[in-house]
Symmetry: D2
């Protein structure tokens, strides 16, 4: 059994790691950290955790890097991960970091969006953990920068376009919508039920921090600079993410051809479903699963292509993808622990 | 008192007309039609209707055009309104039609999106009822084509751009999101609670019938052809609509200048609020009111402008706007019956 | 015009007072207090407030009791109201207190559930503001203890039973369900969207502080001691409250007779609707209105009576009832400002 | 591998069977029936079903009882199951019936609540499939009447009381609340999003058909007649059920003693969690799992005991329990396929 630690185990991505790893055939969670529940057992925080799956929460300060764990998941706030990652790597563990600390390769870009990085060397060591794009590098890595939820949905929804000659994907308009769990666990007025439960609103217009991450990866795929016009919005659901991506066509392209290109691009991917003509993805049909559902359509009247990418922000957009990455770096079946169907309804 | 009839009074826009008109100082609802409740009283269908506000539902067939009503609201399915409108006009009533039957001026455009029109002469007689754009013509009209919900949000969110030299508004990308009530009242699997309540999905991609209506009005404002790339989505709330509108800049333009242009454009409008920098609209803050909240931002990094327009789809997007139009055609205070604040939370 | 102050104007009951009073034909809100928005204008906190309805927020400390207001609404946390109420009364204002500070007549009972009272004399001066039960006393009062939301629904749902000989209403089982807004505005993990939005749970089992208030009023109606077995639960909606009340029958009683007794009891009440046989109340049909919908049924198989009482917890359960009380103490039409129909859907 | 058929595979309990069985280590779904999707593959109805888990839907009429399946799950409307069950048993399959057709032992009681039974002999053959109560009989059975959702929550929440001398459990008041999925899949106005999504309401007051089922089992446990005063309500969530159960005490009993009795009663049960003092169950913490969370409290002030029982109506209240029963009748590990943690949030 792979012995796993979860840092930040009582936040939403932490809890989701517990859920997925508890059902994983090759993993045992041997400990976690939690600010609010330090010293307690997981079953005290969550009555649904049974005796066989129980483990203890440590405070961050008492954490012992000489633990005999094999792998650590860092579900920590941005800024805390980089420091911990270094300690864990030095202690011989492999690390999957779910924060944004290690996703950008260029320290200058990082600095512009997040401020000065505390350990820029790590930026070169971390591999961007989107298996559909970087599978081979991930297999060799000991440090994974698990992608953000918005970038996951946007990159998966856009990647096939760079192989399509008739499409100009250099400046996509990306209109994204995220479930409220994306704002993290914690008491905030803006994400309280009464303020957010019957509303819908944009936020972070023009300056969301996931933008440089998307641009890094899309530029890489394009082999030229890609800039995104990105607007995120909050949907009153607990899980789910939709990115609606608009790009102009350079020449005639049928929806059928575009759909075939997507299907071909993802032919061997276990978690990607390209939907047939006339069927559009719905967050309700991926909830709780590691799947990404994609649809592509061409607006012949205006000469633009629309791609729609749907994931569960906590699974393929965070903890599920982290486990997929862990499977790869630990040499296991990539889909292990991740084959569960979505919970519908 | 103005004596009003409501055709289709037990659908969502019909019920909303009842709610608004019951609180209107100058109007009495004297009757309605309803397929399911014909012969019954309104208070039987809705226990919240009190004795003083009660009225009787007629079946469509028994309707008497010699009724002594002054004005009729048609909250009927598309296709049924045009026929009824003609009868009512002939009987001397003024008519506000909430369907799409009379919104397009060009019978050929109508034919392309809806099929052959049954009474194309009416298309020339009806005035497009967006008071912020066509107030003077509305005052003179006896037949109002009340705008669709998506067009209302999109036109109000885009109109000021045509006065801004640095903006290329000829081909906006419009990503819209509508509450589920937009799908109408009625039993459908796709809008059942369990199928739609925890989901979010696009629909009608590339071919929603509100497109020609937007393009007619925007082209008119631009004095040249405008084409929209339009994608609607369903939000799991009962009321609310957000349109996020993206247009490229031709030259430098600050967000401040853009915001001032919006503020100036709507300076005297009682129902439009242009929000200050850093504040973005939220459907929760217009629910139940006739207001439209607008925000405008410039993405300097990519040279695009983003405008966000929020309404309650059943009020400013339907029944509230219908009452606003009625106030104008009947020579009353434009805001009468429409000054209620939104229900928050 | 009646000049009104709102203390705690940015909490949910405060905002609801603003909404209702803004639409009231005889009232102008001349000021409010707010911890978070002191010094700002109401329109800054809520973009939907227009120029004509705007007012300024004061910090609690700067409040001037020599203000020329006629009436003050106290939407303050429990414990703060009693002190402020005394100052306002001394300055000649009438006071409607929405907190629990003044609802219990007996200082000992108050002490047992809330701790020592800071101004027990006020307990004797305040009139319990349930107009359907205490209308005449309310008209004479200058200090109103506005009832709690649970007691309002339970007392209105139970009161007619004490006139029915065949019913033993001395020990009702009361199972209540409240919208999340009942927990107040403020950032709490338990009322965050993700924790509460797809859940349903009891809380405060056996010891909710609204119990003594119900028992005081029900005992008064019964002219003997009434004890309630009360369990509150949280419904994932923003507004609404249901109390399901179970009492044993002493002798045969038909549902028809029971229903007639309810109808008779509330014959002249403008806000109460007793529903016909086979129709049961729904929070969706009172949302935003001051109505209370009641149904009563007899389970002949087991010999028990079930009464169901539904209100909007923020309106009839708080701010609407407060305005109804203000209308009475200021000698206005009892229904002024409160005739709006619910917002459905 | 156990070869399973699912009758009614595209209703909510059918889909949930697909989800659970797809993750079951010992089962392969080899076919299903569906009215709407007959002739299609499961992956066409649900894009989340992958190639390895796909199967074909047959129309009910074409079903071949000589199929080589080992077990059949009947997720059919009430009334259709009994006929099919007989055919399948004759063909040598074991049958788990999720309908109400076979739950009542007494044909007269069945007749009174449902009408004349078409195959009363089956009533004697079927074992009531609540493993926590009837585990040994289930192991020997070839025909299981899977309990209703309300009875499951109520029986599990009440059963330990019959061992507690100080409690009078002969006439419990049972106030239950169910998620909307309990109303089944299908287009109904009352369960549409806009009608039900922001409401809460009782239904079936005094005459819900699950009453005789509860009374049969509780009377059996009590060894004397038990009658329940039962009121169901609809919660606006897709999954979850809460039963709040009130019984009077005959003599002093502490909450601690009651809680210990519950804990002892369910000591070896893998799916039951008795919560510690001060912690109350929440549907959000069982969603998607086969767990039942129980709390028990004593109201010393009034001398009543309150038990609260929470399940996911589609899992422990339907499809999860059906799989638990199948595990028992097929001689597998009782928890196989059912160990997944709930999806939270």
């Amino acid at each position: 059994m792979i012995r796993a630690l979860i840092f930040g185990a009582t936040g939403y991505t932490g809890i989701e790691l517990v859920r997925i790893l508890t059902g994983h055939p090759n993993v045992a969670v041997v400990g976690g950290t939690s600010r609010n529940w330090a010293g307690k057992r997981a079953s005290e925080a969550f009555p649904f955790i049974g005796k066989d799956d129980d483990f203890r929460f440590y405070p961050m300060e008492n954490f012992q890097p000489d633990s005999d764990a094999d792998v650590a998941f860092l579900a920590l706030p941005h800024g805390e991960s980089a420091r911990v990652a270094r300690q864990l790597l030095d202690a011989g563990m492999k690390v999957v970091d779910l924060s944004a600390d290690l996703r950008l390769h260029d320290p200058n870009v990082y600095g512009k969006w997040y401020g000065k990085h505390i350990d820029p060397d790590l930026l070169g060591r971390a591999v961007y953990g989107l298996p559909e794009i970087h599978r081979d590098s991930i297999r060799e890595a000991d440090l994974i920068a698990n992608p953000g939820c918005y970038p996951t949905s946007v990159i998966l929804g856009t990647a096939p376009l760079f192989k399509l000659p008739g499409v100009d994907a250099a400046c996509p308009v990306v209109d994204s919508k995220s479930a409220i769990s994306g704002a993290g666990r914690g008491a905030k007025l803006t994400t309280s039920f009464c303020e957010s439960g019957e509303g819908f609103k944009p936020y972070g217009v023009t300056h969301h921090r996931h933008i440089p991450e998307m641009e890094q990866e899309l530029s890489n795929l394009a082999a030229s600079t890609v800039k995104v016009r990105f607007t995120p919005h909050l949907i009153p659901v607990s899980r789910g993410m939709v990115s609606t991506i608009y790009v102009p066509l350079r020449s005639d392209l049928s929806a059928k051809t575009a759909r075939e290109a997507y299907t071909e691009f993802y032919r061997h991917e276990p978690f990607i479903r390209v939907l047939p003509a006339g069927v559009f993805p719905d967050t309700a049909l991926v909830r709780g699963s590691n799947q990404c559902h994609l649809a592509v359509e061409v607006d012949e009247r205006t000469g633009w292509l629309i791609a729609i990418s749907v994931i569960d922000n906590l699974v393929k957009g965070a903890s599920g993808q982290a486990v997929q990455n862990m499977n790869l770096i630990m040499g296991r079946e990539e889909t292990a622990g991740l084959t569960g169907l979505p919970l519908f309804p």
